[in-house]
């Protein structure tokens, strides 16, 4: 099995790593880059625990071959918070107890970020559809949906304030 040298941007930093050609990006991110926030659930694209953003699109890292990341821009859960301030999605998940064991949480947060980046004011139904590719076996989903809707309100309020400041 040959090894491939991969150059890409991860969470704002240029990163290069050597990976087995047939390895998944999930394994490369965890084992070669050291980003343990990317979780493996099913490994077949059904559960969404390994969700990342690649070129601003939410995808399952388990369904990507590591060399495909060449030249791409990747965001993992480690890149969501700004310095020591949590992203509003993270804050809302925390305050709303939208997690229990936490294994699915990074994937939910990134899928939710992808939704809010494209649709800042989603309906509850739109949130439920957008998160249909993420499975949580603890919470029963309602707290997650509420946290995402709450974060959408906070982000919209922040955007309005920033707009006024300008």
């Amino acid at each position: 099995m040959s090894r491939t040298h991969v150059n890409c941007e991860i969470n704002g930093d240029h990163v290069d790593f050597l990976s087995e050609s047939g390895a998944s990006l999930l394994n490369a991110l965890r084992d070669d880059v050291g980003l343990m926030g990317v979780k493996e659930g099913c490994g077949t694209g059904d559960c969404g625990a390994c969700s990342i953003l690649m070129d601003d699109r939410v995808t399952c890292a388990c369904l990507i071959f590591a060399p495909e990341a060449e030249g791409r821009t990747i965001v993992t859960i480690e890149g969501l918070a700004a310095a020591d301030e949590l992203h509003p999605l993270q804050q809302c998940f925390l305050e709303g107890a939208a997690l229990q064991c936490g294994v699915c949480t990074p994937g939910f947060l990134l899928a939710a970020k992808a939704l809010l980046d494209n649709n800042p004011t989603p309906t509850e139904t739109e949130v439920r559809y957008a998160l249909a590719g993420n499975l949580c076996r603890c919470t029963g989903y309602d707290k997650i949906i509420r946290a995402v809707l709450e974060a959408a309100d906070i982000l919209a309020a922040n955007a309005a304030t920033n707009g006024d400041a300008k």
């Binding site: 047939g22 998944s24 694209g45 969404g48 939410v58 060399p67 559809y129 249909a132 590719g133």
Partner: protein, 293 residues
């Protein structure tokens, strides 16, 4: 496994010819689970997504060209494409989650050759054509000629689909795709039904196309259902004839998703509803999607 990402069709053909143990892929949403479940690993993976033509989505005066590896999310998000082909767009939007739709493609959905592939009945009713890259250039074949059975296609070793061409529908035409799954999202069709209907000024059907998925070794057109509509209005009588023809055209399997009897019954109901929705779209009276049709 070795990995190559050629940037031209010619380089991809050369890469595939370099070893008999090569395999093209687009989104890998079927390939990786298959490898994980124990299918043999190919020696060489050829990633088609760095070839511009393979990830294009282009509209001309008379047709659309859809790259074989273009993510299906591009189809559902394009307002112009979705308004001209609502059925094909909705079928593309049923393939897995957002995570999957940012990777899945019409080329992969067709060539994986699952009888339940959602986009295939919708492509059949729009009579989409596949442009196939070969060692000697390209050949264009109807999508209906690509799959030959579960997991099997008519593509020869070293060939791959570059893009799909689909002609714009004539005036007063609508298409639709409906599927039956026990869950709302993230499921595989028990039955899928596609339809395209063209109406004249009196509301009579001048052209009809009906196709079914998940009820036979490959998705198939239902010519008896089409014949039952041409020259006639869309009413209870003609829709009943569509349902009977669709049920009769099924050659399904019994499996965990549905029995033979159930699939035949549902195929009739779904074909009828898909024709009705397509006709409502053709006449501009569609007010709902398939959920309540």
């Amino acid at each position: 496994m070795d990995y190559l990402a050629p940037t031209t069709v010619a380089d991809a053909i050369d890469a595939l010819a370099s070893t008999a143990d090569s395999r093209v892929f687009a989104g890998a949403t079927d390939l990786i689970p298959q490898i994980r479940s124990g299918r043999p690993e190919p020696g060489l993976l050829v990633d088609l997504k760095r070839i511009d033509r393979l990830t294009a989505l282009a509209e001309s005066d008379t047709s659309w060209t859809i790259g074989a590896a273009t993510p299906t999310s591009r189809l559902t998000e394009d307002p112009s494409f979705s308004s001209q082909f609502p059925g094909l767009s909705e079928a593309a939007g049923l393939i897995g989650s957002d995570q999957i739709q940012n990777r899945s493609s019409l080329g992969g959905n067709l060539c994986n050759a699952s009888p339940a592939a959602d986009s295939v009945p919708a492509m059949l009713v729009n009579e989409a054509r596949a442009v196939v890259a070969t060692a000697d250039g390209t050949r264009t074949v109807p999508v209906s000629d690509v799959t030959t059975g579960p997991g099997a296609t008519s593509l020869q070793a070293g060939e791959f689909i570059v893009e799909f061409e689909v002609d714009k529908p004539p005036a007063n035409t609508g298409d639709a795709y409906l599927r039956m799954t026990p869950r709302t999202e993230m499921d595989i069709a028990v039955v899928g039904a596609g339809a395209r209907v063209t109406l004249d000024a009196d509301g009579n059907c001048t052209e009809a196309r009906v196709a079914l998925g998940a009820v036979a070794p490959t998705a198939r057109r239902v010519s008896d259902a089409e014949a039952a509509l041409v020259g006639k209005p869309i009413n209870d009588e003609t829709l009943a004839a569509v349902a009977a023809a669709a049920s009769a055209a099924c050659d399904p399997i019994d499996d965990k998703r549905g029995t033979i009897e159930y699939r035949k019954q549902v195929a009739g109901v779904l074909a009828k509803r898909a024709v009705k929705l397509a006709a409502d779209r053709a006449s501009g009276t569609a007010t709902t999607n398939g959920e309540s049709a």
